[in-house]
Every structure is written in C-alpha cells, then in structure tokens.
Symmetry: C2
Subunit: 154 residues, 2 copies
Amino acid sequence: MSARGLLEHAARRGWTVGVAESLTGGLVTATLVEVPGASGVVRGGVVAYATDLKATLLGVDVGLLAERGAVDPDVATAMAQGARRVTGADVGLATTGVAGPAPQDGRPPGLVYVAVVTPGASVVRRLEVDEDRAGVRATAVDAVLGLAVELVAG
Amino acid sequence: MSARGLLEHAARRGWTVGVAESLTGGLVTATLVEVPGASGVVRGGVVAYATDLKATLLGVDVGLLAERGAVDPDVATAMAQGARRVTGADVGLATTGVAGPAPQDGRPPGLVYVAVVTPGASVVRRLEVDEDRAGVRATAVDAVLGLAVELVAG
C-alpha cells in the first residue's frame, strides 16, 4: 500500500510529510494518518478547496491563479511547496483537479495534477481520469502517494 | 446524511463552512466535499495533526497546549475558532482526540472532543469511544457533523 510505503521510506530518511489538497478534500492526509505510527512522520496539511485559500493558506501566487485557474501544473507544484513550508515538512504532496461533473475554469472533468516536492526533487504529473467524482478523487489519492513513494524511495 | 444536511442548512442561511482536524486527519472535510455542490459552501480546512501546527496554523494558544495537551475541550473550541478565521468561513468545525491504541498526553484512547462555532453559538462535546482507530475516527466525524447540523439548523 502506497501510504504505508511512503511513511516507511520517509521514516528511514528522517523526513516528515505535509499535504496540500484541493479536489481530494482531505483524503490524502486521512489515508496517511490511518497508518499506525503516522504521527512520527505526518505533520498535517491544508485543504485549500476554495481557490483563494490556495493563495492565503499556501502562498500560491495570486497572478498565477488568476491567469491559469486552480487546475494547473504550476499551481500544483506551488501547493506542494506551500505544504512543505506551512507544515514545516521535508516532503510536500499536492492535488488539484476537476472532480466533475461540470468543467471548472475551462478544464474538463477528470483532469488532475498531482505534485510532490522533496529536499532534492520536484515532480508534477498530469492525469486524465474517466470516472465519477469518487473515482477521480480515489485515482488522485493513489497517484500522489505513488509519486511520493517513487521520489522518497529513490 | 449529516454532511448533506449541514450543507443544505448552511446554504439556506448563506453560511460557509471551514474545518480544523486533528485525529480525523482530513476525513471531516473529505466527507463534506463528497456532497455535490459542496464548493458553494465548503471553504476548506486545516489538518493540524502535529500539536505545534494547532498553534502555528490555527492560532491555538501555546500556553494552553503546553498545559493541557492537544486533547482538551478548550483546544477543540480554539481550533474551531481558528478554522473559521483562517478559512474565512461562518461556521468552524473541529476534532481532537486519541485514536489509540496508545494514550496521548495522559488521555486514554477513544477520548474525543468535537467543537462547532457559528456566528451565534459555540458548543463542544465530549465522547468516549470504545472502538479501534478507524471506529474512533468514524465516530468523531459523525459527531462533529451531527453537532454542526444541530447548531446550523437551529
């Protein structure tokens, strides 16, 4: 399971983890804290569901949000950087996307960006998910945890 | 379902909702955003899993945390107030407690406080839950949503 793997790899490196979530609404952080012993690694996170909270709580550039909207690879990366900073964590995870069924900011349902920033790397991944709201969210959770495992284990 | 009821009652009053979570780790916010149309009411939230984040991200008094620990009724209320302030919401929900299996800060597993602050009321409720980690969390989610429905519908 990715959550357990992430926490094990992070603990081995002495790294902590923080999360910034938009469309997943807290599911990434909730998945991590389900793992016994999570409190030694998981700092916490911010659910910036409203777009303006991505700026006020996570420090995402207001101009970037105005120009591109919330569902954008650079916004995802800035959210992950914000997660690291505001939680004081070594590793930041972020999700942003359109759960659907309606488009948002001109982006289609199922478009998701997940980003992970570690002390040595920053990677963002684009997903196009053809599922319902719950399926889009579950896929986003798996994708960001999987990407984090790759970067933290590597 | 409490999440749907809360969003309907809040929308009727023109109120928005913000969340501060500790032991539930994001589950309250995730439950709320599952409801279609949530984006009109749910602002977002903070998962202050590490105790120090309750001070830095939510403004809970450091002296209070040092004296009482994180699992305390006044800490729960201060977290709900912090949720309102940092998300700019009308209604703040908060959870803090011991998921177990080990005690925390001298508090037994299953001890949970949930708090809700609205423009006109502030209520905190104490729970003693005899279940495993997942059961304690699920009970805390139901309890804070149920309390919020009472206060927002009332």
